[in-house]
Point group: C2
Chain length 583, copies 2
């Protein structure tokens, strides 16, 4: 628990050790997007803020929380009486973290090198900042998370065995001049071994390191209590043995990704071959079984959202709130025994809440859903034995204004134009992105996020190199060409502060279109099967072709979902929600 005295205790140590400051990232040794409670504990010990991102910087005299716009209100409240100053990252005239440290000469700076990537460490060094590897997490007395058992994926869930994947990876590593490959990112390890875990909520991964080598053999480092089966051709060691193991094998040329490996582990390698892990791209290109299963569970997921839509229509006058609805949606998903978790915390938001892209209702903080609002935006997904989903629908619950109808129609146009794109091999998300944004840009609007991202298979909902944004963000490493087998979710939207938020999101599978003398062309197959609200469309803004595409989509949704429905009421509801629009 946070106490102002915790900071003072640390400041005393900083002075003794001659460190100008100590920096705590919201991070773990595996560069995970979300981290377990264990790795959050240290930050929470020194700072009462509970958000899922932000950095705490403690100098010999002061303490700061660096947080971006999503968290300013929350942080301000939570920091009261903490003596911690909030630094509003992204606000006018505010120095970003690294520049702040440089400007105020807060170095030598203590950092736990387990929680910083090698690439990030190098960027600090390049800025002239001296970093010292220290670990004060013991002060927080964090308790190890309870050992959650990992589980093997059945053969019918995966196209390639882990042995086949390992062979491919070692071949690729050899091409890059390496005899081994050190994999530290948790979703890559889960992918390679065809194993899933429960260490991080919503992300079915398990804390571990994986070392693959033709010379030294294959080795998994994991809390042994978590695993009660053996893996063919892979020796199992305790999680912390990675350090002595790497020291013993430091002279082997090892492929390692500086963008993703933690700096402490990296420092143990004498012969690092810097490059991207082969699994990063392999994981993004789904195989035959992964695609078949994903389509199957997408229909199941679509059914849950259909039921939810009906429930929403029928309960609107009951004064339920956003959190109630998110709970209800989880119930519908869990009706299928294949669903074992959500893929992220459900966003269910009305009106001005929906305009805040990262708003999530909680048990404590939420708004009532009523027909005084125009819309209920629901962005949600499930983890299934058979795939991972991520879908947004903006349900109409009140009377739409002209402006809303206009913006909703633009959003649908954006989604349609990406969905129907045909593109030459070599095209990336950056190539295609403008097909979505053009309608907003023509009117001086823009959504302040990517148009989409890769989606994992029974894995993280944010994944892979198939990002979708209109300009490069090099450190994201997500601008690979879109290839057949990749699943990308596309989520254009319009967000009007204090008014409303609109987003429509489908998962698109890249498939071959045709091969001609000018090259190989690809297209998308939509694999999200959920009706799209049509009662707030301005048909004057839609071309005939666009309406045809919408009708085709609703026909697909009807065919996919009707197979799963026995209840007549629900089937009629599906019929009405997928009714053909007259052209």
């Amino acid at each position: 628990m946070f106490d102002v005295k915790n900071i003072q205790k640390l400041q005393k140590i900083l002075k003794e050790k001659g460190l100008k400051a100590y920096l705590i990232f919201t991070s773990d040794p595996h560069n995970s997007e979300y981290v377990s409670d264990y790795y959050l504990a240290e930050r929470k010990y020194f700072c009462p803020f509970t958000g899922s991102a932000g950095q705490v910087l403690i100098t010999q005299e002061k303490a700061y929380l660096f947080a971006d716009g999503r968290y300013w209100i929350q942080a301000k409240n939570q920091l009261e009486n903490s003596n911690i100053e909030l630094i509003k990252v992204g606000d006018v005239g505010v120095l970003p973290l690294k520049e702040f440290i440089k400007e105020n000469k807060l170095y030598p700076l203590g950092v736990n090198f387990l929680n910083i990537t090698e690439q990030s460490l190098e960027s600090y060094k390049k800025a002239g900042i001296t970093l010292i590897d220290v670990d004060f997490s013991y002060l927080a007395e964090a308790k190890e998370d309870k050992a959650q058992k990992v589980f093997k994926l059945d053969d019918d869930l995966v196209t390639l065995s882990s042995e086949e994947k390992i062979n491919k990876i070692l071949e690729e590593s050899e091409k890059q001049g390496a005899s081994s490959n050190l994999v530290t990112t948790l979703d890559d390890i889960a992918f390679i071994l065809n194993i899933r875990g429960r260490d991080i909520p919503r992300n079915p991964v398990f804390y571990s390191y994986l070392y693959l080598s033709k010379i030294a053999g294959n080795h998994l480092f994991i809390n042994k209590e978590k695993i009660d089966f053996s893996i063919k051709n892979v020796a199992i060691h305790d999680y912390n043995e990675i350090f002595t193991f790497l020291k013993a094998h430091k002279d082997i040329k090892t492929l390692v990704d500086p963008l993703r490996v933690n700096a402490r582990v990296y420092s143990l390698l004498n012969e690092p071959i810097r490059g991207r892990n082969p699994s990063y791209l392999m994981k993004a290109i789904k195989g035959k079984k992964e695609i078949e299963n994903t389509k199957k569970i997408q229909a199941i997921d679509g059914l849950a959202l259909l039921k939810f839509n009906k429930y929403l229509d029928e309960n609107l006058l009951k004064n339920l709130n956003e959190y109630d609805y998110s709970e209800k949606l989880e119930e519908f998903r869990k009706e299928s025994s294949l669903c074992f978790d959500l893929s992220f915390d459900t966003i269910a938001s009305v009106g001005p809440n929906a305009a805040m892209m990262h708003y999530e209702p909680t048990k404590e903080m939420h708004s009532v859903v009523s027909d005084k609002d125009i819309e209920l935006l629901v962005d949600s997904g499930g983890q299934y034995y058979g795939g991972t989903t991520d879908t947004t629908r903006t349900f109409l619950i009140g009377k739409p204004t002209k402006e809303y109808i206009h913006d909703y129609t633009l959003t649908l146009k954006s989604l349609i134009h990406v969905s129907k794109a045909i593109f030459l091999d070599g095209s990336s998300g950056q190539t295609i992105d403008i097909l979505a944004r053009q309608f907003m840009w023509n009117e001086g609007m823009d959504y302040k996020c990517g148009t989409g991202h890769g989606v994992g298979y029974i894995l993280n909902v944010h994944e892979g190199p198939n990002g979708f944004r209109y300009k490069k963000v090099p450190e994201r490493d997500d601008q690979d060409p879109i290839k057949p087998g990749m699943i990308t979710t596309i989520e254009p939207g319009v967000y009007k502060e204090n008014k409303y938020g609109i987003r429509i999101e489908n998962n698109l599978l890249c498939v071959p279109a045709f091969k001609t003398s000018d090259g190989e062309f690809y297209k998308f197959e939509t694999i999200t099967y959920v009706p799209i609200e049509t009662r707030c469309l301005d048909f004057n803004l839609l071309t005939k072709e666009e309406i045809m595409r919408l009708n085709d989509y609703h026909e697909l949704v009807y065919n996919k979902l009707s197979e799963l429905i026995k209840d007549k009421d629900l089937l009629n509801y599906l019929k009405s929600k997928t009714a053909k629009i007259k052209i």
Copy 2:
């Protein structure tokens, strides 16, 4: 002149010096796209091929010409009886140059380090190839080009003085940690000094090096016979003094661009700060006067093309050939005293010739233009005291087929959709490119070139970081965001082997569109004023909005050109070529 004995002479020297091979690039010490005869002489001494690209590799026993598809037929003919083997770069199973050298262990390899960029040298080293800096050009006894006088640009032609430009550059260099900036690219030097030359046909540049420094002063290295005026704050030295100068100043931190500097000059710097030259981006963003003047001379250039169109209509039955027409077009351009050169050799091509993107008629090789062909494609431009142009029109001269009409219409659609784009600050050519290509891609077609490129100001017709292609080509360094003031030419097309080629090309100036709470948006203003053939359009393929855009464009062309026309006949011709299409 080439003689088989020349190769034998060299091979003897190679053996004496223990070099496995000698490699001759088609290049000069300034990484110029086109080079003067002087720098071509060595290659021509060892190889009878006359194309404008290709590499000659001479081993102790053999000799090879590496040439890409554009030159295979020409090279095959010219290499007859030369004992030189043609390596068809790009053909199935053919190793590219570097891989060929590596595979056959043709190193130590002799190269003139003046004619290879530092970046390229490093890529050879990285591939494990040892390069030795040698210079056998003396064998060719090349004669220095006659010293052509350089000329100053009048004040009303340039927005910033050379002093202002130098100050900006030195500020930018300081930000990158450098006290000096070594500029070796000829168009950058011409831009910075507001001077133009005549050393390379079509490119109004002059051979020189420019060294800018707050510490050591500013220095131009140029054949002193070429310059008969002084430059404020810039000392003038003889061209070859650059080497002793750099040796004397080698310890100054000097900003230098490894992508563009030659390896010999680079090797003289002890403290190179590797980075892009500030002038590269500055040059691309045209100032107020540059824009005003360019618009003025674009109208003059448009008038020449209008006259040409009329001439073509009136002379079709006279059996003139492509080269005759290109000469005639040059005549029309030179009617204006402002036009002092072409910006590249005119491409005038009928039918199957037009399908070859890089075909150029010559006095010796050309086809007759007749109404048996559908089209005459003319891609041409002028160098004016006031700007540089690059325009393509595909004139209808015969009876178009259905397929031709279809493809011509698609090409126009492509041009229209880029021309009307609105895009957020940060968007690059890669962001916008698909607006052009989408129509071809939907049908499995693609043009095998960029959609466009930057255009210089009284400078090289290929310029700058504002490239336009659907995927990254890192070594081109041409994917910067498109900013107001940049001039980009857009040239989509359809090329059908042995049938026809279609291309329509306009120069677009980036201008602000609007600024909203979501950011700054830009758009394009078309600054090429030449009627577009409408008699082979399929109006069923065009939307109302597209036809309106075409009508608006023709209204603009009429307004711009009619001001310059006194001749009633020509005015009537203009009227007919810009007539409004009924919607």
